[in-house]
Symmetry: C2
Subunit: 333 residues, 2 copies
Amino acid sequence: MEKQTVTIYDVAREAAVSMATVSRVVNGNPNVKPATRKKVLEVIDRLDYRPNAVARGLASKKTTTVGVIIPDVTNEYFASLARGIDDIAMMYKYNIILTNSDENGGKEVQVLNTLMAKQVDGIIFMGNRVTPELREEFKRSKAPIVLAGSVDDEKSQPSVNIDYVAAVAEAVKNLIDHGNQKIAFVSGPMDEAINHDYRLKGYKKALKDANIAFDDKLIFETDYTYKAGQALEPALTAAGATAAFVGDDELAAGVMNGLTDANVAVPDTFEVITSNDTKLTELVRPKMSSITQPLYDIGAVAMRLLTKLMNNETVDENTVILPYGLMKRSSTK
Amino acid sequence: MEKQTVTIYDVAREAAVSMATVSRVVNGNPNVKPATRKKVLEVIDRLDYRPNAVARGLASKKTTTVGVIIPDVTNEYFASLARGIDDIAMMYKYNIILTNSDENGGKEVQVLNTLMAKQVDGIIFMGNRVTPELREEFKRSKAPIVLAGSVDDEKSQPSVNIDYVAAVAEAVKNLIDHGNQKIAFVSGPMDEAINHDYRLKGYKKALKDANIAFDDKLIFETDYTYKAGQALEPALTAAGATAAFVGDDELAAGVMNGLTDANVAVPDTFEVITSNDTKLTELVRPKMSSITQPLYDIGAVAMRLLTKLMNNETVDENTVILPYGLMKRSSTK
DNA sequence: CGCAAGACTGAAAACGCTTTCATATCAAAG
DNA sequence: CTTTGATATGAAAGCGTTTTCAGTCTTGCG
């Protein structure tokens, strides 16, 4: 009762040609007489022949699939990038093997290895904690790897991002311009390069430009979760902050709702600005002002870059920086 | 400069055994003398040998990868299922090929075909519009297919869901019990089975049980988007509705915010209850009451079911129904 | 000490395709 | 006609594993 698979050999026999010829017509090789092509095509249709991609992969050493490592699909930010990645991948006839890493170094290394074992033609990596071990695996990979919406201190790999330092600096300057002096910096784990090495730098720069002393009492390191943000209210007010820059939208929603629930008026007595411009910013009330990022495009461009790399095309610039913006909504004055 | 790949043959030579033996130790076959195993393992380690999964797949006819068709990763509901799927998949050593379908029949058929060409061991399908063509492809597949959080009128495939009819009926009854007589039914496209054949049925049942006449002026068919929901306010009030059941959280958030923005007080003068219990319900103000679904588990159970099917284990029940609940938050009295 | 029954191991045949290389065909040119 | 340079085609060698089948060794035991 097992369904019988029809192979290239069956087609060759039925069409009275060699496998080589069948292979040629399947792959659109022009060196086939039109009459022959027609005959083969008919048989293919009649037998409902579908080439086995695994065999093809083994013979050609190309699988037309790329691996995508994502911290968590459930996170709006990364999901948006993933969507961009998949669309472009599909456009170039690639498929995506998607795996959640939870930004867990061990899991990332393991996943990377199974992707390589599966002979993916390329890899897109999302995650901001590029450990030395990870970097080691990257080097050992013969498939090109590009980072999307993720930074590595050492810039060891091609990547596409926005200029986080400048974006955060501008966001914070905006807060300063509104008269705030004690501005909280609420971020995810500080061992992520994007937090300790980019956002924080932007924050400090804005302060310095405005001659405001840096005060580490205003630095709040926590998880990227709604609950964590919500729980921050007492500490925030205790520290005397009157505004906050937040590194993640869900976290920011938590911060804002936490404040509101404690009767701290946003934006009147406390301003909040967030980082990722996901849908969330529009759903909450007040709507959140945010740094804007071309989320979909970051993924799309990363995938496009990867196709070039997989094709051995020369690319002029390996680390691409997309433009950001600032969107004023209702959580800032 | 191309990195050299080491094959099973290299290991065999270095260890002075046959490929067969190497294969055995790699696959944990017990029929290998401990001393031999040790020797081979050492060589594997020394040469840093990693089995080629593609070759393996060709020889064994198993790829340890499953295809996942999802309407849109960017949708919280499906993303949550996807996370459950991936976790269980990883637990059973499978990888996921993820593709967005936009619930577009043509794209779905095409994607299904490329998944089959890639010899996936199984497929998880999400999407509520199972067309005859699609059903045809399902049948032709030799890899088992299970539907997750998705229904097919004809129950042609194994699936895991909740009892949508009962859940919606209960939700609507709740609204009726609060004294509402004109309850709007706001749903996504009616050509999706889940809407026209399940949710609507539950809605009608609740009305009937309460002796309320069905009025199709209260049926609102629209897109699953925030904007669409927001735009619904005028129509909703014009129809005289005092409450609404909504088939999607993002849509519901739109409906609710639309009402609020038009100074219709939720829940005091208009109650809203939604369907999917995603994170969103907690982010908006007022928080939305919702049917609760074990989102992660729907995905997880679907994947688990698939592993059994792929293993040819006998499963007692092909269509599993998980429990639902009703979570009262602040958008209902 | 002889022998059957495991326990191990290796040779070689798949798996279903791509690709190289050689050969065959053919039209145009001489 | 013969030659020549494309143009078409086929044979066969991989691609890197798994798996079957047939041994070859070891044991335990009478």
